[in-house]
């Protein structure tokens, strides 16, 4: 079974729910166990909300993938052309927040996945790539 990549526009608060439901459905297809389905849906909700809140719009790309050892996994890319993150190191610290959130967003999200990469350029946008293996 080879699932195709899928992209979802993130333009409104409602799209956050659409994205996390889509990710859960893909995670089920890929054979992730319940706890990992929950982690993936939750991390999607957090990162999609960041985009809608700070960048206004962007997209999520879901790419089913396979490791060198043949383990299947899911890569999720969240990208926007928003203002960018001025201090990534600070944003990755627990307790840091600029919005009305609880400051759990990025560091909390990182704990829910196996790989977490963040690229950001001021005035150009942000791209966060995460992977969770089954």
């Amino acid at each position: 079974m080879r699932l195709q990549s899928k992209s979802i526009a993130l333009e409104s608060e409602h799209d956050i729910a659409v994205a996390r439901n889509e990710v859960r459905a893909i995670a089920v297809e890929l054979g992730f166990r319940l706890i990992d389905q929950t982690r993936l849906a939750t991390v999607t909700s957090e990162l999609a909300r960041n985009i809608v809140k700070y960048a206004r719009s962007g997209q999520m790309i879901a790419q089913p993938t396979e490791s060198a050892e043949g383990r299947s996994g899911l890569r999720l890319i969240f990208e926007d052309t928003g203002p960018g993150i001025p201090d990534i190191a600070a944003a990755m610290r627990d307790g840091f927040t600029t919005g009305r959130g609880l400051g759990k967003g990025l560091p909390g999200s990182k704990r829910l996945v196996d790989e977490f990469k963040i690229e950001s350029e001021m005035g150009r946008g942000t791209r966060i790539t995460i992977v969770r293996w089954t």
Binding site: E13, H14, I16, A17, R20, N21, R24, L34, I35, Q37, T38, R39, A41, T42, S45, E46, R49, D94, G101, L102, K104, G105, P107, G108, S109, R111, L112
Partner: protein, 143 residues
């Protein structure tokens, strides 16, 4: 997915809120407002929020639950969240959320016991209401 579709039941002096759908942000905010205005309108002293069908609690929903508990407390009411799925609990902890000020128990029965016992929420028609609440608890807990 509209907030108005999530029922708020009143039994005795307890509001029961069974959340049975995945909520978008709008629904979450609307539900918070509705619970608070029901508290004011009915003078209820307890809020029991059943999240056993919620497959995910992110920081937004977590904050909503904490905020409801804090606001209800100011209005002299106690909040209990019941039925959190194990996978949801694990994810919440990993995410670093604490659900500050929210009491959590395993199921609706325990939630009602907590509200009635520890928080001393009783009323005149006690016996009748206890039977009603138990009937509803059974309904809600049925898979």
């Amino acid at each position: 997915m509209e907030g108005s579709r999530i029922p708020i039941l009143k039994l005795g002096r307890v509001l029961i809120v069974p959340i049975q759908v995945d909520m978008d942000d709008q629904t979450v905010m609307l539900l918070q407002e509705r619970i608070l205005s029901e508290l004011e309108r009915t003078g209820a002293r307890g809020v029991l929020i059943d999240i056993s069908l919620l497959e995910m609690v992110d920081s937004f929903i977590g904050r909503m639950l904490s905020d409801i508990a804090a606001m209800a407390r100011i209005m002299d009411a106690r909040t209990v969240v019941v039925g959190m799925q194990p996978a949801v609990a694990i994810t919440l902890v990993e995410l670093g959320l604490e659900l500050r000020g929210v009491d959590t128990v395993l199921n609706v029965d325990e939630g009602i016991k907590l509200l009635r016992g520890e928080f001393g929420i009783h009323d005149e028609e006690d016996e009748f209401n206890l039977r009603e609440l138990n009937a509803i608890a059974e309904q809600i807990n049925r898979p």
